[in-house]
C-alpha cells in the first residue's frame, strides 16, 4: 500500500480573537490517497477553508499533525512550508489571485521558475498547460483583460505548473457563473483522470458531486465522510449535469 498524499491527525486550529479562543477546526482526522478527489463541504464558518489552508501551510495549526507525501509537515518553518509548497502543492483560490502586473504567461511560468527549472523548460510547460486549457492566444494578456472563467483557468494552469502531488482548491467556482463553473469543473475532472490528487473546498453540492469522496464539516469537525458510489455517476457526463444531494 502506497503512502497517503495527505494525512492529518487530530488537527486543531484555535484563533485568538480579542483574547478569546475561537476554535475553527476541532480535531480533524483525514487521509487522502494518491489519485483521490476529495471534496470538503460545509456551511460558512464550518472551518473548511481554515482546514485546507492548514494542509497547504498557509496557516499554522494549533495542534495535531500534518503529513504530506509521507513527510511530516506541521513542524516546518514558514520557509520550509514555502519550499514544500513550491515542490508539492498547487493552490487555486476563489478570487483567482493572479499577479496583476504580470502577463498570463508570466503568471503560469512563475512557480516553475521558482522551482528552479530553466526559463526554457518553464516556457515549454506553460505553452503545454495553456494549450491544454485553451488559453494559448491569451498568453500575453494581462489578467485584468480576462473573464473570470479564463482567470480561473490560468490560476489552474499556474497551480499545475510544477506537477504538484496535491492540488488544493478553495472554492474555485465560488466566483464564477454556471457556464464558467462547468468549464472549470470539467478541467478539474480531466486533471483528476490523469491521476492528480485533488482536495477541493466548496459549499456547492453540484461541485462536490464531481469528487470521489465527500467530507462534510460542521463547526470544525467531520460529520460525514463517504465515497460517492461509482455506479451513481455517469461515466463521462458533464459535471454540471450531475445533481447530487448528499449528507
Amino acid at each position: 500500500m502506497d503512502t497517503p498524499v495527505v494525512k492529518a491527525t487530530n488537527l486543531v486550529k484555535i484563533y485568538q480573537t480579542g483574547g478569546l479562543p475561537v476554535p475553527a477546526v476541532r480535531g480533524i482526522d483525514l487521509t487522502v490517497r494518491a489519485g483521490e478527489f476529495v471534496a470538503i463541504m460545509g456551511p460558512s464558518g464550518s472551518g473548511k477553508s481554515t482546514f485546507i489552508h492548514m494542509l497547504g501551510g498557509l496557516e499554522t495549526r494549533t495542534s495535531g499533525e500534518i503529513w504530506l507525501d509521507g513527510k511530516r509537515a506541521d513542524t516546518l518553518s514558514e520557509s520550509g512550508w514555502a519550499v514544500l509548497r513550491r515542490q508539492k502543492v498547487g493552490f487555486v483560490f476563489q478570487f483567482f489571485n493572479l499577479v496583476a502586473n504580470m502577463t498570463v504567461a508570466d503568471n503560469v511560468e512563475l512557480p516553475a521558475l521558482l522551482g528552479g527549472v530553466s526559463p526554457r523548460q518553464a516556457r515549454e510547460r506553460r505553452e503545454y498547460l495553456l494549450g491544454e486549457l485553451g488559453l494559448t492566444e491569451r498568453a500575453a494578456a494581462a489578467p485584468a483583460q480576462l473573464s473570470g472563467g479564463e482567470q480561473q483557468r490560468v490560476a489552474l494552469a499556474r497551480a499545475l505548473a510544477n506537477h504538484p502531488r496535491l492540488l488544493l482548491a478553495d472554492e474555485p467556482t465560488g466566483n464564477l457563473d454556471s457556464r464558467n463553473t462547468r468549464d472549470v469543473l470539467k478541467l478539474l475532472g480531466q486533471v483528476h483522470r490523469q491521476g492528480q490528487t485533488i482536495v477541493l473546498v466548496t459549499h456547492d453540492a453540484r461541485v462536490a458531486s464531481m469528487a470521489d469522496r465527500v467530507v462534510s464539516l460542521l463547526d470544525g469537525q467531520i460529520v460525514d465522510d463517504g465515497a460517492i458510489p461509482r455506479t451513481r455517476r455517469r461515466p463521462s457526463g458533464t459535471a454540471g449535469d450531475v445533481v447530487e444531494l448528499h449528507g
Partner: protein, 754 residues
C-alpha cells in the same frame, strides 16, 4: 529562483514607470547636491589647487638680491625640485595714460619643469621675437590686454620700451590681480636686460617644490638659515591660495545642509514609496507566498527592486555631480572630488537607501500567505468632531474625507513628514535667497557701506581725498589701510583693516558688543575670534611689519571677507609709519547713487578706484543651487504624494461603491478622496513651511558662524514669497491628488473584491 523574483520585479517596475523614475531622480538629485557640496567644501573650486597642480608649482618662492646658492637650496631636506633662479625687475606699464606697477620676470623660452606657466591664449615667448611678453591672465583682463596688444613699459631708469603681448598665461605661483600686486609679466632674459640693464636693481626669485607642503614653515626656516642674510622676502603657497579663495565655505556648508536634509527626505520618500507599494500589493505578495516564495525571498526581492532604483539614482547622481563640477563650475578650475569623500558619499547614501527600503520590504516579507485575506484599513467610528461637523452641516464629503485622512496612522504620518521635510528645506532655501537679496539691498549690513575705494596712486593722499570728496555723490571718505599681521603662535598672517579713525569710525556692521571708540580698540569677524580662540573683551597682540600692536576686541562684526579672519580698528591705532599716508579712502556714496557711474567719474579725474564686490554677487551661484534644490525637493515631495494618493485610492476603492450607494454624487466622491489624501499633504506643507520659516534665520546664522562670516546675516523668507510658496505647494499637492481621484470617482466600481 532569481528569475522568478526578477520576473516579478520587472513586471512591477513596468507597471509604475513614473513613480520609479521619480525615486531615481530624487536620489540622484540629492547625491549630486552632496557631491557638489563636498567639492566646494574640499576647496576643489579654489582655482589655486587646479592651477598649482597643473603648473607643477613651487611651494615656496624666495626673493634674494643676487642669485642664491642653488646647490645649498637643493640639498635642503624636503625640497624635491627648484624653479629658477630667475631675475625679476620692477617696471611700470603705461596704459591709456595710467601707470601701473608691474613685475617682469625672466623665464626660459622652453617651458620649465617646475612652476610652468599655463598658456591660455596666444603664443609663448619666442627668442626670435624678443619684444614679446606673456602676461598673467587676471592682470591682463583687468587692464584689457589681449595677445597683440601693445605693452609699453618704463624701466627704473626712465627709458620706455615698446613691447607686445604675445600670450596670456595662468600660474599657481601668484595670486590674481588686483588681490595680488604687482601684476606679472614673463619675459625672456634678453628682454629683461633691455628694460633693466642695471644688475643691482633686479632681484632673483627661486621656487622650491616640496615633497610635503606641510613642512613649508620648516623648509622656509632652513632656507633662510642656509642663505644667511640674502633673503629679502619669502612667499608660500598658503598666501597664494588664500588670495584666490572664494567664499566656498559658506556655499559648501549650505549645500551640505541641504544635501543631508534632502537625503533624509529622499530616504523617507523611498521608504514611503516602498511601504506604499507593499501595502497596495499585499494580495499579490500573499499570492507569491502561497506559490512558494519564502519570507526571505520576498524581502530580498522587494529590497532588490526598490534598492536598485535608489542605487541607480546614486550612480546617476555621481555622474551628474562630476558633470556639474566639471562644467557648471568650470570657471573656477575645479579639481574633482578626491576618492575618499566620493566613496564615503556613495557608500553612505547607498546604506541609507538600503536601510530605507529594507524596513518596508521586511514588513512585506512578513505578509501572511493567505491571499484571500483583504488588507482593509482599520475601521473606526465617526469621531465626535466629525459628528459635530456633520451636525453643523459642513459638506459631508469634507467630513468623510477628513475622517479617512487619519484612519491609517502610519501612512498619514509618513505623508505629513514626507511633505513637511522637503517643504521645510524649500522654505529655508528661500530664506537663503532672501538673505542674498538683503546683502544686495543693504550692503552696509555686510560691511560694505562704502561702495568704492580710491587709491592715491601718483597723487598725494590729501589730494586724492579732496578730488573724491568733490564728487556730488560721495558723502564720506574714510582713510584706510589693509595690512597683514603676524599672529603669535600661528605660522600665518591675518588681514587687519584700519578704516576710519576711532573718533569717527567706519560704519562696520557690529553684530555683538560695540564699535571701537578709542585707540587700541578693535572689532573682529567670527573667523578671527575662532582662529585665535578669543572672545569679545579679550586683548590680542599681533605684529604688523615688525611693530607690535595690542588691541582689545570690543565687538564682533559681520565679516564676509577672508572667511571672517579680519581684525578691524581705527587707523589711529596703527603705528604712524603704517598709517600715514593712508593706502586708500573708502567712499560712502549718497543713497541711490550708482557706484559704477561715480567710479567712472572719479576715474576720469585720474583716480584709481576699486568697486567693492557684494558678497551676494560672489555667491550668485547659490541662487542656481537653490533653484536646483527646490526642484529636487519638490520631486521628493511629489513622490511622497503619489504614494499617498495611490494608497488612499486603494484603501477606498471598496468604499466608493458604498458612498455612491449612499447617494453621494461623483463630485462628492471625488471631494472625499481628495480631502482624504490632500489633508495630510496640506498639513505637511503648512507644518514644513512654518518650521522652515522659523528655522531659516537661525540656520543661516549657524552657517554664517561656521563659515566665519558670523551670525547676524540670516533672514526669513519675505511674507509674499512665503505665501506664494505655500499656495503653490498646496495647489500642486491637490492637483496631484485630484487627477487619480477624478478618474476613480467616475470609474465603474466593482462591488466585489477585485
Amino acid at each position: 529562483m532569481i528569475t522568478a523574483g526578477g520576473r516579478w520585479v520587472r513586471a512591477d517596475l513596468r507597471a509604475r514607470r513614473g513613480q520609479a523614475l521619480l525615486s531615481v531622480l530624487a536620489v540622484a538629485g540629492i547625491v549630486t547636491a552632496l557631491i557638489t557640496a563636498a567639492t566646494l567644501l574640499e576647496d576643489g573650486t579654489n582655482p589655486w589647487r587646479g592651477l598649482f597642480e597643473r603648473s607643477h608649482g613651487a611651494h615656496v618662492w624666495i626673493h634674494t638680491k643676487d642669485a642664491p646658492d642653488v646647490p645649498a637650496l637643493k640639498a635642503l631636506n624636503g625640497v624635491t625640485d627648484l624653479a629658477g633662479p630667475y631675475r625679476s625687475a620692477p617696471a611700470t606699464l603705461v596704459d591709456h595714460g595710467r601707470r601701473v606697477p608691474i613685475a617682469l620676470q625672466e623665464t626660459p623660452a622652453a617651458f620649465p619643469a617646475v612652476a610652468r606657466p599655463l598658456l591660455r591664449e596666444g603664443r609663448w615667448l619666442d627668442p626670435r621675437r624678443p619684444d614679446g611678453v606673456v602676461v598673467e591672465r587676471s592682470f591682463a583682463r583687468a587692464l584689457g590686454l589681449r595677445p597683440g596688444s601693445p605693452f609699453t613699459v618704463t624701466g627704473l631708469n626712465g627709458a620706455t620700451h615698446a613691447l607686445v603681448v604675445s600670450g596670456l598665461a595662468e600660474s599657481g605661483d601668484q595670486g590674481f590681480y588686483p588681490e595680488w600686486t604687482p601684476g606679472l609679466a614673463w619675459t625672456l632674459s634678453q628682454t629683461l636686460s633691455l628694460v633693466e640693464p642695471a644688475p643691482g636693481r633686479t632681484e632673483t626669485v627661486t621656487g622650491l617644490r616640496l615633497a610635503d607642503p606641510g613642512y613649508t614653515d620648516l623648509v622656509v626656516q632652513r632656507a633662510v638659515m642656509a642663505l644667511r642674510n640674502q633673503v629679502q622676502r619669502v612667499a608660500t603657497w598658503r598666501e597664494v591660495r588664500a588670495s584666490m579663495e572664494l567664499d566656498n565655505r559658506l556655499l559648501g556648508l549650505l549645500l551640505a545642509l541641504f544635501g543631508v536634509a534632502g537625503l533624509v527626505a529622499a530616504a523617507l520618500a523611498l521608504a514611503n514609496a516602498t511601504g506604499g507599494r507593499v501595502l497596495t500589493q499585499l494580495r499579490d505578495i500573499a499570492t507569491l507566498k502561497s506559490l512558494g516564495f519564502t519570507r526571505g525571498q520576498v524581502t530580498r526581492m522587494l529590497v532588490a527592486e526598490h534598492g536598485t532604483l535608489g542605487l541607480l539614482g546614486i550612480a546617476l547622481g555621481l555622474l551628474a555631480g562630476r558633470l556639474i563640477t566639471a562644467y557648471a563650475l568650470s570657471d573656477a578650475v575645479v579639481v574633482p572630488l578626491s576618492p575618499g569623500p566620493l566613496v564615503a558619499i556613495a557608500a553612505g547614501t547607498a546604506l541609507v537607501v538600503l536601510v530605507a527600503v529594507w524596513l518596508p520590504s521586511w514588513r512585506g516579507g512578513r505578509t501572511p500567505p493567505i491571499p484571500a485575506a483583504p488588507a482593509a484599513p482599520p475601521r473606526g467610528h465617526l469621531s465626535r468632531l466629525a459628528r459635530v461637523a456633520l451636525l453643523v452641516r459642513l459638506p459631508p464629503a469634507l467630513v468623510l474625507g477628513a475622517r479617512d485622512a487619519f484612519t491609517r496612522r502610519t501612512p498619514a504620518l509618513l505623508t505629513v513628514t514626507g511633505v513637511a521635510i522637503p517643504m521645510m528645506m524649500i522654505t529655508i532655501g528661500l530664506g537663503c535667497w532672501a538673505t542674498l537679496d538683503d546683502f544686495i539691498r543693504h550692503p552696509e549690513k555686510v560691511g560694505q557701506a562704502a561702495a568704492l575705494a580710491v587709491r592715491p596712486g601718483d597723487l598725494t593722499a590729501e589730494e586724492a581725498r579732496a578730488r573724491a570728496m568733490a564728487d556730488p555723490d560721495v558723502v564720506a571718505a574714510y582713510p584706510g589701510a589693509e595690512l597683514d599681521a603676524l599672529v603669535p603662535w600661528q605660522t600665518r598672517t591675518v588681514r587687519t583693516r584700519a578704516l576710519g579713525v576711532s573718533a569717527d569710525p567706519y560704519p562696520f556692521p557690529v553684530a555683538e558688543g560695540r564699535m571701537f571708540a578709542d585707540r587700541g580698540e578693535a572689532v573682529a569677524g567670527q573667523g578671527l575670534l575662532d582662529l585665535l580662540g578669543v572672545h569679545i573683551g579679550d586683548r590680542v597682540r599681533m605684529t604688523i611689519g615688525g611693530t607690535p600692536l595690542i588691541v582689545r576686541i570690543v565687538g564682533r562684526v559681520v565679516e564676509p571677507e577672508q572667511d571672517g579672519e579680519v581684525l578691524s580698528f581705527g587707523i589711529d591705532s596703527l603705528a604712524a609709519k603704517d598709517a600715514m599716508p593712508p593706502q586708500f579712502y573708502s567712499l560712502v556714496l549718497r543713497p541711490g547713487a550708482d557706484p559704477a557711474e561715480v567710479r567712472a567719474r572719479l576715474q576720469a579725474r585720474s583716480l584709481e578706484v576699486d568697486q567693492a564686490v557684494n558678497p551676494a554677487d560672489r555667491l550668485a551661484v547659490i541662487r542656481v543651487i537653490i533653484v536646483a534644490l527646490v526642484v529636487v525637493l519638490a520631486l521628493i515631495g511629489l513622490a511622497n504624494l503619489l504614494t499617498a494618493s495611490a494608497l488612499g485610492l486603494r484603501d477606498h476603492v471598496l468604499d466608493l461603491a458604498v458612498l455612491k450607494a449612499m447617494g453621494l454624487t461623483p463630485r462628492q466622491v471625488m471631494a472625499t478622496l481628495v480631502t482624504g489624501t490632500g489633508l495630510p499633504a496640506m498639513v505637511g506643507v503648512l507644518l514644513g513651511a512654518s518650521a522652515g520659516a522659523f528655522l531659516s534665520r537661525g540656520l543661516i546664522d549657524l552657517e554664517g558662524r561656521g563659515s566665519g562670516v558670523g551670525a547676524g546675516i540670516g533672514r526669513a523668507p519675505t511674507p509674499g514669497m512665503f505665501a506664494a510658496t505655500v499656495l503653490i505647494a498646496i495647489g500642486a499637492a491637490l492637483l496631484v491628488v485630484l487627477i487619480p481621484a477624478r478618474r476613480a470617482a467616475r470609474a465603474q466600481v466593482p462591488v466585489t473584491a477585485r
